[in-house]
């Protein structure tokens, strides 16, 4: 790919990734939202975090199939328990990393 083509491509990508980040904030932040919409938005973080994490624990990516034997899933159990018990972000990240490290070392 030529340098100018690359620059054009990256600028286009930058535009289309920036717009969804910027527009809702610009439009919504200086407005009074209807109650139902504000309540809906309050549920979005729990919904979106769950949707981001759970498929990576229970599925293989190519091809996409259901799977119950991933180290990511096993490591999630102590990680989740630790998060529920301590509510410590730093601790959970460390426990998650070491659980995953240990589990992948045993499996492989």
């Amino acid at each position: 790919m030529k340098s100018t083509d690359y620059i054009i491509m990256v600028l286009c990508m930058g535009g289309v990734t920036y717009i969804p980040r910027m527009l809702p904030l610009m439009i919504l932040s200086d407005r009074k939202l209807p109650d139902w919409f504000a309540e809906w938005l309050e549920l979005i973080p729990a919904a979106i975090l769950s949707a981001l994490i759970v498929p990576s624990l229970f599925t293989l990516s190519s091809p996409r199939v259901f799977d119950l034997s991933k180290p990511e899933l096993f490591a999630a159990i102590p990680t989740l328990l630790f998060a529920l018990r301590t509510r410590s972000l730093a601790g959970t990240v460390i426990v998650g990393m070491f659980s995953y490290w240990g589990i992948t070392a045993i499996i492989r």
Binding site: M9, I44, L52, F66, V93
Partner: protein, 232 residues
């Protein structure tokens, strides 16, 4: 000007994101270098696009000779979920100036959204610290993708389970979001829907589809049964 205290708070909240970005950024740099990109081209993409998923996909698509419109359209689809995150963040950025928002929105990622949404909601940080967090994460991303071009090959993969840092962070941030029964139900619906959608629908729309479905179902249940007690 942002005070040292606000700077410190932003960095303190942002470090797990940075830890997680380093291995992903390094591997992006390695792949980009193999794909023939120069260091400045890697830096340029990481600065302008700042979206890991789209950047990896762009590398793949460039290698297979895809057109610029095709790469652009894919990047748009992959990042459409940020519509939801930006909307939800607006709850906590009421009355911020347009200039602030123009700059702040640049730094919205899955990770900064997850941390900022919780911390702003609980009043642990203010919007300036949230902006610091965005920019620290951005700097780490740009630096590690460029570093990957030079040193990525020499770093053993998987050391200390660092590949799991972001998953661990997301799990904990999800726990923070479970502030009552309705949040637990919403997350459970999203979990089931996202796995089903991931398996049935090609591409990345599963995140946005299942999040919208779950939040809508959660809102209907909440309104129907009055499960609106929050516990902290």
């Amino acid at each position: 000007m942002i005070s040292a205290e606000k700077l410190r708070k932003g960095i303190e909240k942002g470090w797990p994101i940075c830890l997680g970005y380093i291995p992903i950024g390094l591997s992006f740099g390695v792949l980009a270098q193999k794909g023939g990109l120069l260091p400045w081209q890697v830096a340029f993409m990481s600065i302008v696009v700042f979206a890991g998923g789209s950047q990896f996909i762009a590398l793949q698509m460039m290698a297979s000779g895809s057109s610029i419109p095709a790469v652009t359209a894919t990047a748009f689809m992959v990042n459409l979920r940020h519509l939801l995150m930006s909307s939800a963040l607006s709850l906590h950025l009421k009355g911020a100036s347009k200039n602030f928002l123009v700059f702040f929105s640049y730094g919205i990622t899955d990770e900064s959204f997850a941390v900022n949404m919780g911390a702003l909601g609980r009043g642990e940080i203010d919007r300036e610290s949230a902006l610091v967090l965005n920019q620290v994460a951005n700097f780490t991303w740009v630096a590690s993708t460029v570093a990957g071009v030079y040193i990525g090959e020499f770093i053993p993969s998987g050391a200390f389970g660092i590949d799991y840092a972001l998953t661990g962070m997301f799990i904990c941030l999800l726990v923070f979001q479970l502030r009552g029964i309705i949040f637990v139900i919403t997350a459970a619906i999203a979990a089931a829907c996202s796995v089903a959608a991931y398996l049935l629908i090609p591409g990345n729309t599963y995140v946005i589809l299942s999040a919208v479905t779950a939040a809508t179902a959660g809102l209907m249940l909440k309104r129907r049964f009055g499960w609106n007690r929050e516990k902290r």
